[in-house]
Amino acid sequence: MAERYSSFEKGGRRWLLQRVTAAFLIVVLAFHFFLLHFVNHANEVTFQMSAGRMQQWIYYSLMVLFLITATFHGVNGVYNALVNMGLTGARKRAMKAALSVASLLLIVQGLRTANAWAGIDLLPII
């Protein structure tokens, strides 16, 4: 019982962030779907059009934020689910590290793709 009072992480911040990102995602995801399936039909997608949108900095920023919040919301959700299933100790720490690395990779890869469209050469690694 002692560790109850010395928990390294209160969880309250992650809980709140999960809610805040949820609220943001509800709006942006709806917009994303609407734009890419109803305004522009999926089979009409071209590199040019994507690049055209990405070159607008507002759209670019929105998509980058979208990527980061979605990754956090999703990965944090997965982590919570695992913890709720009873993951503890070393396996929990390992899972936390693995999920953090996966998130980082996803965000980096997403950014590189966005940059490819936008013509930005910030992350030139192959």
Binding site: F8, E9, G11, R14, W15, G86
Partner: protein
């Protein structure tokens, strides 16, 4: 009548006793078992007659005793109990125990939904045996011990962990703000009493904890009952702001309120209709509010 039909496969008769049993006890057990077998036969016949009678309740009761041979392997026993209007599941169990099998074991005391002894898993839901009318249930009535708690014997589960969680939230009133006059009470508004009223109704039956699959996965999760207890004190204005802060720190910890996934299963099974999920959510908001102050 108890037909004692095990639903699981028959035990291997040669299976040994627990090592601790003395030869004398073994002999005694053996004799009792023989008599039980004879009785079973008589009862099986009676059971068939009873089963034909519409005015009986068919109970399927979970049986397990770590010590008694034939019960070490969990199984379900059938009892056919004469029905009367207003009969509760507890009445039926008591009848079965007093008339068919005196070793049938369950906790019970007040028979009026206030002592919280007889929370059971009845037809797939956590309920108080005394508060559940047999006529409201589908036949047969399946009675099992509370899920997610270790079974001690038959319908009795180990409540220690539940009690530990209850006691981990400092479940006692603490205030430095008592009136100077020893014979004067602290004042409390009706609104404030109303706010904590439902939370004070908890009878520690453990139904909520048993229904919560987060508590099932995370042993350290405080669980609905303990969090409700924390709510009861945190929201009581008589305790003062400092104490509230302290209480929020307890429920904010990793295995505290954030574990709640708002499945509402605790709220649904609570025999005292305490809105447990609502109370836990209120605590989450209080915790966020108090933390935002420091941001």
């Amino acid at each position: 009548m108890s037909t004692q039909q095990p639903e699981t496969q028959e035990d291997d008769e040669s299976e040994g006793e627990l090592e601790t049993t003395s030869p004398a006890q073994q002999q005694r057990l053996e004799k009792k078992r023989q008599r039980a077998a004879a009785r079973e036969q008589r009862e099986a016949e009676a059971a068939e007659r009873a089963a034909a009678d519409e005015n009986t309740v068919h109970l399927k009761v979970f049986r397990y005793d770590p010590e008694v041979e034939g019960k070490q392997e969990p199984r379900f026993d059938d009892f056919y109990v004469p029905f009367h209007k207003g009969m509760t599941v507890l009445d039926a169990l008591m009848y079965a125990r007093d008339n068919y099998d005196s070793s049938l074991t369950f906790r019970h005391s007040c028979r009026q939904a206030i002592c919280g002894s007889d929370a059971l898993f009845i037809n797939g839901s956590q309920r108080l045996g005394c508060q559940t009318q047999v006529s409201d249930l589908d036949d047969p009535v399946r009675v099992e011990p509370l899920p997610h708690q270790e079974v001690v014997k038959d319908l009795v589960v180990d409540m220690e962990h539940f009690y530990d969680q209850m006691e981990a939230v400092e479940p006692y009133f603490q205030t430095d703000d008592l009136p100077d006059d020893e014979l004067e009470e602290q004042h409390q508004t009706r609104e404030n009493r109303e706010k904590v009223k439902m939370s004070t109704r908890c009878i520690w039956c453990g139904a909520c904890m048993s229904s919560c699959n987060i508590a099932a996965g995370d042993n350290q999760y405080l669980g609905p009952a303990a969090l409700n207890k924390a709510y009861r004190f945190a929201m009581d204005e008589r305790e003062g702001a400092d104490m509230k802060q302290r209480r929020l720190e307890i429920i904010e910890q990793e295995h505290g309120v954030w574990r709640c996934q708002t499945q509402f299963s605790c709220t649904e099974v609570c025999p005292k209709d305490i809105p447990l999920t609502e109370h836990i959510q209120a605590l989450k908001r209080e915790a966020v509010k108090s933390n935002l102050k420091f941001w």
